[in-house]
């Protein structure tokens, strides 16, 4: 082993010395094997973008159709002016959308209202009344939300019945 390493190194150094950019036109006596180029097999695949447009390409993947979930048509980086994409929630699997379809939007967190209430609490004792009022308002809103839920539940039922 100790013998082989210096030998290898010397071989490597000579190889590096031999590679030069100048073309030396000397007769070469050995025959060069003409290797057939290796070409991996390619399939034709249809790519369906999210907006429904399609194009074909040659690929090594055997799947005939590839449907994208996220591409240049619905990525914010490629559509910077789109408001629809700006406030998009992390709902790639569609679970949130499914929940909303089932129960409506009433379970959405009312974050701005709560934040305002917290700020008022921290500021001063004078604003405690206002805070209490805000809390009451929030509670009222929550109740409203719950009432909404009940009322909308019935309405949805009626609506669906009407549709049917």
């Amino acid at each position: 082993m100790s013998l082989s390493t210096p030998l290898r190194r010397s071989a490597a150094t000579t190889a590096r010395v031999q590679t030069s950019t100048t073309f030396i036109c000397s007769q070469c006596r050995h025959a060069t094997l003409l290797r057939r180029p290796k070409r991996p097999y390619q399939f034709t695949q249809l790519i369906t973008l999210t907006d429904g447009s399609t194009f074909t390409h040659r690929t090594s993947s055997p799947a005939p159709i590839y449907r994208t979930t996220r591409d240049t048509r619905n990525a914010l980086l490629w559509n910077p002016s789109s408001n629809k994409l700006k406030n998009i929630e992390d709902d790639e699997a569609g679970r949130l959308a499914a929940f909303r379809a089932k129960f409506g939007r009433i379970w959405d967190a009312n974050t701005p209202v709560n934040e305002d209430a917290d700020n008022k609490d921290g500021e001063s004792a004078e604003s405690k009344k206002a805070a209490a009022a805000a809390e009451a308002a929030a509670a009222q809103e929550e109740e409203d939300n719950l009432l909404d839920l009940i009322s909308s539940f019935g309405q949805e039922e009626q609506g669906s019945k009407k549709k049917n």
Partner: protein, 355 residues
Amino acid sequence: MAASEPSRYLARSLPRTLVPSSRHQALCWRRNASDQASSKASSAGLSDLESASSLTTTVSEDIIKSFQPIERARARKTQLPRSRYQFRSPKYDRGPLHPHRPPPPSDPSSRLFVPGPFSLPRVEQTFQSTVASDILTLLYVHNPPGFKPPVKAPRLRSWDDSSPYHKNRPLRGPRGGDVLRLLRHPITFNNIPKLERITLHSYVKQAASEHSGWLHVAGMAVQAISNVRVQTYKSKASVSQWHISPGRDSVAVKAELRGENMHHFFGKLVDVVMPKIKDWEGVKGSSGDSSGNITFGIEGKDMALFPEIEANYDMYPPKMLPGCHITIHTSATTDKDARMLLSALGVPFYGKLVN
């Protein structure tokens, strides 16, 4: 060589013997050894010559009658073997002096022939139909008739002959650094910047310190996404922390895409893979080698976003999936033009654009 000697002598000596010289031979006292030798050789060569031409020999009538290639081909019951009518390239290139030379690689009978292209890629169509004319419009510089551009100083300066040592020196390099940058010719219809080739390069440091499986996985992954057989490369630099010494271990994998492969790869990279990369801002604006080639990298976990790797993700050990550097070589000579081309084709850039 030996066979050609008499004829050479003959060619020299024949005019001398046939043309009657004005000088009288007997009066010429000077005698050269070469004269003597040539006259001797000429006489020997002339005696060896055949008197009749070989072209005048007559062929007998029955041989001419019997030579009927069309009849013979019609009378043949079975087809000739393939080797009798199909040219087959030699397996080895034996040099320019060998009588049996392989055909050029563009010839379909060549062993190096690569058929194609088989499709018209979408990126190429987009480039031809919209991008090329857009770039041509954007880069148009109007010069009024009769405009003459100001004469620029030569790029390589000459030495002022203040010192006698300046004689025969090569010209001085450009001012402000030794780098002689590429010339940017005005963009016209025939030099619109376009994609030339894409290089995928993946340096796997564990291939040296651990086993070669890392390199195999990297090669498979790069081949899968690029449709091109990869080449392996040995390290040129010594990195002692990774136990890499120059010229010992194969540590890198490279695939070079051209033409159809390149366009398909670029299309799927921009349309499918780039939007899926998490928290990706784009290609950094300062990337590029200031001569129109732009490089960016994608990490190992982003390699899994390619549809080919996604199709059988289980084949690749997830930890061994390599990242790679993607170099896009364009025919533009400045980074600004290259960036304009790439952003027209859909590659986003961020940060300060450095040219």
